[in-house]
Amino acid sequence: MKLKKSVAISENGFVFNASRGDSFSTNPTGTQILNWLREGQTDTEMKALLLEKYEIDEATCEKDLYDFIKMLNQQNLIEA
């Protein structure tokens, strides 16, 4: 799973998909996940990184991460 090359992310969480012209804004956690995806981190690696960074139980972390990734897929930001 990788972020599309056409997706640009700014430090303040503005996301622009240059192949469709869509733009979004996300919070710092979302920006971090997008950057991890760009680096090629797997679901498991990202979950571990989130658990390390935030005080959150594993089930909630997993659900929130998958929900976010599902949304990225729906918005055509992930490579097919």
Binding site: S6, A8, A18, R20
Partner: protein, 357 residues
């Protein structure tokens, strides 16, 4: 680099809420690194905003409406040429192109160059002929049928699944969810624009536009894709962003290469959500009003058109900056009555008279 001095006549100065491409074309020419232009504005109406904008036109002449025929236009242009020694004309309206194409050979003999599609190219891309166009040039277009009356409409509707797009001969389109709605739109459009009316299969997806330039010999000289991000109540793009999508640009390449298109053009495309297929919806036979976005992104199509028309060797451009936006705005210019008075009474007005050496 020494700039080439040129006198160029441009139409489409109606920078209104339904803007013509004239001002963006002039703005692009004025920013050219190769050309030093004197701009002669050609206007159909005395209140076209481009007549009153600072730094755009150097001189304005009123020209006759296309309905008065191409001979009337030619004699007016001959007079303007006598005054201004025109090097080139860039027409920017669909409705006037027919006349300019008709007289282009005679303009060339007078020493006025143009870069226009041929009559055949112009006719081939008419809305009612889009299916034939697609078949002839192997380009995906949505299923379309042309109807002249309500009997034909009822028959044609049975061949579509809903929603169906109902399009006017020249402008306007509506999406009908039922046969009753389609009949309503048929009457509305037929009253306003006349028949035929075009029925087109609705494609669920995202609309994109491309401004492009063909050299008339099959080469795509440049193409920039854009997505409208703000659309007015009348369907006009009021803001947009340049995008980078190879599939869309491939379509522009196909159209220009296969048709050997000469001059500027705008493609309206739909990318289907479910399949990712790109469908050609419409070809406008001139630059769009947003053509300055292409210039700002690094491809100055009006400048390239001028250089091609002069017979210069111009390299095609492929790269441009994606993620550049345009946002239109309205602005009340305060003008002296004298300019209006001058054009209204004499049909011409000097904004920046030619300085004689």
């Amino acid at each position: 680099m020494k700039k080439i001095p040129l006198t160029i006549a441009v139409t489409g100065l109606n920078n209104s809420d339904n803007p013509g491409p004239g001002i963006p074309v002039i703005r692009s020419l004025r920013e050219s690194r190769h050309l030093a232009v004197r701009i002669i504005g050609l206007s159909y109406e005395n209140l076209e905003p481009g007549v009153y904008m600072d730094g755009m036109v150097d001189m304005v002449y009123a020209i006759p409406y296309p309905s008065l025929g191409h001979e009337t236009l030619l004699s007016r242009l001959a007079y303007i040429h006598e005054q201004e020694q025109l090097d080139l004309i860039i027409p920017n309206f669909d409705a006037e192109l027919f006349s300019f194409i008709k007289i282009s050979d005679r303009l060339t003999r007078m020493g006025i160059r143009t870069l226009l599609p041929t009559q055949e190219q112009f006719d081939a891309r008419l809305k009612g002929k889009l299916v034939e166009f697609g078949e002839r040039f192997h380009i995906d277009v949505p299923k379309s049928l042309t109807v002249f009356n309500t009997d034909e409409l009822a028959q044609a509707l049975s061949e579509f699944s809903y929603p169906v797009v109902v399009k006017g001969k020249f402008y306007e389109a509506y999406v009908a969810q039922t046969a009753e709605q389609a009949h309503g739109y048929f009457h509305k459009l037929a009253t306003k624009w006349g028949t035929p009316i075009i029925l087109q299969q609705f494609i669920k997806g995202q609309e994109y536009n491309i401004t492009a330039l063909g050299d008339g010999k099959g080469r795509l000289m440049g193409a920039v894709a854009m997505r409208k991000t703000y659309i007015t109540a009348t369907g006009k793009g009021w803001a947009g962003v340049s995008i980078d999508d190879e599939n869309l640009l491939d379509m522009a390449r196909e159209v220009v290469t296969q048709t050997r298109w000469g001059g500027g053009l705008e493609l309206e495309l739909m990318k289907e959500d479910s399949s990712g297929n790109v469908y050609l919806i419409e070809i406008n036979p001139r630059f769009p009003a947003w053509v300055y976005l292409a210039t700002a992104c690094g491809q100055n199509h009006p400048e390239m058109l001028v250089r091609l028309a002069l017979g210069q060797d111009v390299d095609p451009q492929q790269d441009y900056e994606a993620g550049k936006m345009f946002v239109r705005y309205s602005w009340d210019m305060i003008c002296d009555l004298s300019r209006f008075q001058e054009i209204a009474t004499t049909g011409e007005v000097a904004i920046r008279p030619l300085e004689l050496a």
